[in-house]
Amino acid sequence: MREWLRWGWAQLTSMRTALILLFLLALAAIPGSIIPQQSISPIEVMDYKAEHPELDRIWEPLGMYHVYTSPWFSAIYLLLFISLIGCITPRIAKFARDLRKPPPRLPSRLDRLPASATVDTPVDDALGIAEAWLKSKRYRTLRTDDGISAERGYLRELGNLVFHLSLVGVLVGLAWSNLGGFIGTVVVVEGRGFANAITQYDDFTAGAWVDTDALEPFSLRVDHFDARFETGRVQRGAARVFDAYVEVTDEGVTTDHLLTVNDPILTSGGTQVNLLGHGYAPNVTVTDGNGDVAFSGPVVFLPQDGNFSSVGVIKVPDGRPQRLAFEGFFFPTAVLDQDGPKSVFPDALEPELWINAWYGEPADETGIPESIYTLNTAGLEPVLGDGEERFRARMKPGAAFSLPDGLGSISFDGYSRWVKLQMSETPGNPVALTSLAIGTLGLCLSLFIKPRRLFVRLGDGVAVGGLDRSDTALGLEDEVSELAEALTKESE
């Protein structure tokens, strides 16, 4: 049993296994770039599942929608890390011993080394001069009566060890961020605010160590969002400016911030606020059958394409005698062609709101949460217009429509923009980043330092020789002959 364990451990920590695990890791990372991932885009996953039901039967049990947290992917990198630690630990011990040991013993025949030279007429005190020469080239030397052994390049192994250990540091930082951090998004309409509490988020994921009832107490208000797009011929419609003017209240102090894509807001407690996206929220006022204003304000519509053709739902549960609901399309730059209406530019140059309407008996408040972006038509009847056709309205800002049969009316008062903000806390980042910086430094040392041994031996004349301890070092011969030259007595 012990033998088996020993054999297994030797296999796991062998370079061949490490190589195979590296390739497995590369291979295992591929599906996550091809198949949509739950953590990146849940909507794409849903679409993919609907489109490829037969593939889904295979992918789902394999965890292909969350590759990078799946058991098999985790198994590969954990094995790789165990192999790495198993490989590195004995080398750390050996390196510590090597550091304390003097350079190796002087070989008896230097002419058998890869590079060697003999000096027939050496200077007086050849060993003294050789030692000084070697020390000036940062060699560690061991001088005996017979000669000198010298070695340099200990930093290579140090860099190698540091680099591999730093990978463990990166993993620790990642794990810390996952356990102690959170990430959440929220859509905020211009003029509205957000307070950092879990109930305010549209979408929220937190690690096990986060107390979600005691998030950092800050709040913010989006005053204004400025979006500008390319109007020239080249890349027409491409984004050019996204500027959100945000007022942040943090520890009782309110400050103004300009929030842009690459310039997040950092709160005093370490929460980072990023600007992720934007869209339109048409402002509507709905008057019910009794003549009362049953709804007024902006409604967040979700963009469907690059030109921000957007869909949304206006729900008026308080309408009396009948409650009302509208399904709407918003086109910031509306054009009507044979395929129907669409938007041809992302900016609001010619905004139009297209709606159809539903009505029904007032429903009881059930308290069951429902999406604000989809309409549950149970208990609702479509509003019909002239000739029993579905009632449809096409509105420009300022327009109003009365629903048939005295159900009420709706007016399109204009539009606001909304921004999608992401709040996140990643406490493990300093550890990960420091590890990466130290690791990259170690990597450079391990790749660029070339360990070398040189020897000087007294005999008839003086023999000089050397060998490289890495395959790709250059210039050994040059250095050996340089040393030989330094020991040659100048002829008078």
Binding site: T426, L443, F448, D471
Partner: protein, 303 residues
């Protein structure tokens, strides 16, 4: 002509220059058939050797012209756009190839590495050709996502790593070709002759490839780290398994495999060279394939 048009014209001309240079190198290879590694002492081959050498020199001349045009095209592109010219695939490819060509010419001038020429000019002709025909987009300002100092740091590092990996890849490919040719020659009981005999020895090719990879690998590491820092600013998390991130990670892992393989008995030599070429494939796939096939956070202006 506007500055942008000068840039476009220079880039097309550079492509033609690299194609010409490549075919001159091919001719050099073809006409070198049968020539031994060393000059015949009786001088019977001298005329042929001179002609072969002339072809190589002409190829270098064409490469110098093409590289100058390429650099000119990149600089004028930046001037026309009023920003660093790395905002899309076209600009990245043209910049990376310009650097590959310049590094090759430096290696040639400093260490006489003309043997890199055939691979470098083929790569430059292919990639610049692809750039001017498929990837081309007119000059335009950047989207807000690219308004960052990390944009410049991240891309400069990526361009340098690209140059290093590609030149190293040329050496690894020639290593494989020469090692097969040597095997064939040994089976026939002959000495290796022709173009391949003029290449550095297998040990020399391997050492050069290893040093070049060892130069590019930390820079690629830094490219990924700089990208991660930028991602932290832009998206609030430094690693998101976006397809581009995933493939840069795959590239990194494959090259890490190469570095380990070249130190491991049984993998050294051909095995390592094959892994290096696999790394280059993942590098280019990350760059071209990911942009064209997948949608992700790195897709800015289509191509």
């Amino acid at each position: 002509m506007t500055v942008a048009q000068y840039s476009d014209t220079a880039m097309v001309a550079a492509t033609v220059g690299f194609i010409v240079a490549f075919f001159l190198h091919v001719a050099e290879w073809a006409f070198a058939g049968g020539l031994g590694e060393r000059r015949n002492p009786d001088g019977s081959e001298d005329a042929k050797r001179t002609n072969v050498d002339l072809l190589g020199r002409l190829a270098v001349a064409a490469t110098i012209v093409a590289a100058a045009l390429n650099v000119f095209g990149v600089v004028t592109r930046g001037l026309a756009a009023g920003r660093p010219p790395w905002g899309n695939m076209y600009e990245f490819v043209t910049s990376a190839i310009a650097l590959v060509a310049v590094v090759y010419l430096l290696c040639l001038w400093r260490w006489g590495m003309r043997w890199l020429g055939i691979g470098v000019t083929l790569l430059a002709a292919l990639m610049l050709g692809l750039a001017v025909t498929v990837f081309y987009v007119d000059v335009a300002p950047l989207v807000p996502a690219l308004h960052s100092v990390w944009f410049i740091i991240h891309i400069i590092a990526a361009v340098i790593a690209a140059a290093g990996f590609n030149i190293a890849g040329v050496a690894s490919l020639l290593y494989l070709v020469r090692s097969w040719a040597e095997d064939r020659a040994i089976r026939r009981g002959d000495d290796l002759t022709g173009y391949l005999a003029k290449l550095p020895s297998l040990k020399g090719l391997d050492t050069f490839a290893h040093r070049m990879h060892a130069f590019a690998f930390p820079i690629w590491t830094f490219t990924i780290v700089a990208g991660a820092i930028w991602a932290q600013y832009a998206w609030g998390r430094f690693w998101n398994w976006d397809p581009k991130e995933t493939w840069s990670f795959i590239t990194w892992v494959v090259y890490a495999g190469y570095l380990h393989a070249s130190l491991t008995a049984g993998w050294r030599g051909r095995g390592a060279a094959a892994i290096a070429l696999l790394g280059l494939v993942t590098f280019w796939f990350n760059f071209i394939g990911v942009n064209l096939l997948f949608s992700g956070l790195h897709s800015y202006a289509g191509i």
